[in-house]
Symmetry: C2
Subunit: 344 residues, 2 copies
């Protein structure tokens, strides 16, 4: 299909491809409040706003069934779906689950996947309301559509950030990526010597962050209780660097992030050292964190520190002309760049 | 993954698998009006009902890129998505499109797919409001989420049919399946002798029905104008036999369909003869028709015949105890059975 006159997707990159594609079709429906370019679409029928997000999970790209239990995979798929709804400061209520199954799956395997979906539905307060089940000739293909609603005036877009706003982050970064590296290492060792048992002890946290990540339902509740309505918000699923750049682009701002304020768990540091990877690189580009990155007016500084002790203020927005930089303790400024897909 | 103690999916069949899976997770959210078991999920936030459907399209199962132009594929994907919304007597307004791309696709290929999606969006009055774009290690994976709304009191479920209701069908059946058989035949001939040009002349209709099917937007408008609110409705995408059985099950009714009233196009008959396939079998089990099957009270008989000349009354519902049968002109009764997946 590809000829020499055509443009390879790698030449364009993921984000420019999406930009180019989204320009093909312009929005015309009055009921579309927000289209492509945020964590989820926002639709208004009558006076009710509905938030809808989509996530495609493909075998070999998003998961490796060699070491991913199907129950965990079901849970993680739901986490990925609802994380986008929370990133709108909204509450997910329903999911649609579509599955493409190859012959090697038995009914009990699929039930195991559904058992994970069920636990996630109970945890996040969701109904599995529909979907599609079909055959796949190749690997397992999964898709989740998550649907939610926001309280009046609470919907938060990527676009509302103002220069001088504080940049706040939940949880810590890079752990899921390190968990993935650990599992990949043990898979390689096992391939070389099937007698060898995987060495996973002492790495519970990074494994859990990769295999069974949690979306930040708790933060949405906490923000409502404060109350704080963030000026902008995005979920960190592609890596902090990519995601903060999306937020900056939509908010038409630049950003400064302080390297020493990046929250990285000790286990992440420890395993990064063990395999000679820079933990900060994992934090910036690792992905699969499912944390929330949001902005709030600088006047909220004390409230955030007092009321939201689990949230780190990692930097601030600035004028777009000042660009997007990570500042090191010795005052070096490193430009933030998006990596996007690695696979294609 | 599959062991001898596990149950093969083929042993259970598609529909029993979905039944079994859907029982794992019970509905708990007050905002879920309709979950699994209809053409689409229905969700009510505040006083607005939103209809959401999901369709997964996988290479090698739902399409063959040897003979499917990407522009047609984009159009067909949207048709499949919105057909489920029309089957609720609702109007689609937005779609989310998720794409898993392998390396062999160039940017221009994806733009071609989007060009088809764009034409469909204009035709059906839709906004492309979001989705997910990712890498695929194997084939092209596509998913559409279609979102729509129904006018007050107009939502139509599979479950509202009453015994003695008329069974009505739009369009004709089996043509898409015959178009597929024609393309598969020419593909085999080409594989045997690449010098040979495909012989597709004289079969425009069945080819179009397979490559660029239309969802019945026109029928929803016509029903509103009459006005007729069907007692139940489903889209015919898996084949009439499967789909009428879904409707009967949800409506707790039996059915009688008259063989001589099945609408089958002359081109469908002609090609069926040519390749020695029974056209009625194609009509019952072929799939991909994207027509609407609905029921209406018997008192509407004359109105339907007068106001909806393009709709055929092909039979009627009856008591569930009487079963589901196709009646031949010589008064034989053939039990209707669902085929479901063939691929797995």
């Amino acid at each position: 299909m590809k000829t020499s006159e055509k443009t390879a997707i790698t030449a364009l990159g993921e984000f420019r491809l999406i930009d180019r594609l989204s320009k093909i079709i312009e929005l015309k429906q009055p009921s579309t409040v927000k289209g492509i370019g945020d964590d989820a679409a926002v639709i208004r029928y009558k006076n009710a706003e509905t938030v809808v997000s989509a996530e495609l999970f493909l075998e070999g790209i998003h998961f490796d069934l060699t070491y991913t239990p199907l129950k965990h995979l079901g849970y993680k798929l739901v986490t990925a779906g609802v994380s986008d709804i929370y990133a709108m400061n909204a509450t997910p209520r329903q999911i649609l689950l579509s599955i493409g199954l190859s012959k090697r799956f038995a009914v009990e395997d699929i039930e195991e996947l559904y058992a994970g979906v069920k636990i996630a539905c109970e945890h996040y307060g969701l109904d599995l309301a529909g979907g599609d089940t079909t055959t796949s000739l190749t690997g397992l293909a999964l898709h989740i559509t998550a649907i939610g609603e926001a309280a009046e005036g609470k919907m938060t877009y990527r676009s509302g950030g103002k220069k001088t706003d504080l940049l706040c982050l939940t949880g810590d970064l890079g752990a899921a990526y390190m968990g993935l590296q650990l599992l990949e290492r043990e898979k390689r060792i096992f391939a070389g010597n099937p007698q060898k048992q995987p060495q996973l002890e002492g790495y519970d946290y990074i494994l859990r962050r990769h295999l069974k990540p949690e979306a930040r339902k708790d933060i949405i509740d906490m923000l409502a209780q404060c109350p704080i309505v963030p000026t902008s918000m995005i979920d960190v699923s592609d890596g902090l660097a990519s995601d903060v750049l999306h937020l900056c682009k939509q908010s038409e701002c630049g950003v400064r992030i302080y390297l020493e304020r990046l929250p990285i768990a000790s286990e992440t540091f420890r395993f990064a050292d063990e395999i000679h990877i820079d933990a900060v690189t994992a934090a910036l580009h690792g992905g699969d964190d499912y944390e929330l990155l949001f902005t709030a007016p600088v006047t909220m500084h004390d409230t955030i520190q007092k009321e939201l002790p689990n949230i780190d203020i990692i930097g601030h927005l600035c004028d777009a002309s000042e660009g997007a930089y990570l500042l090191t303790p010795d005052n070096q400024a490193i430009e933030l760049t998006a990596q996007g897909w690695k696979g294609i």
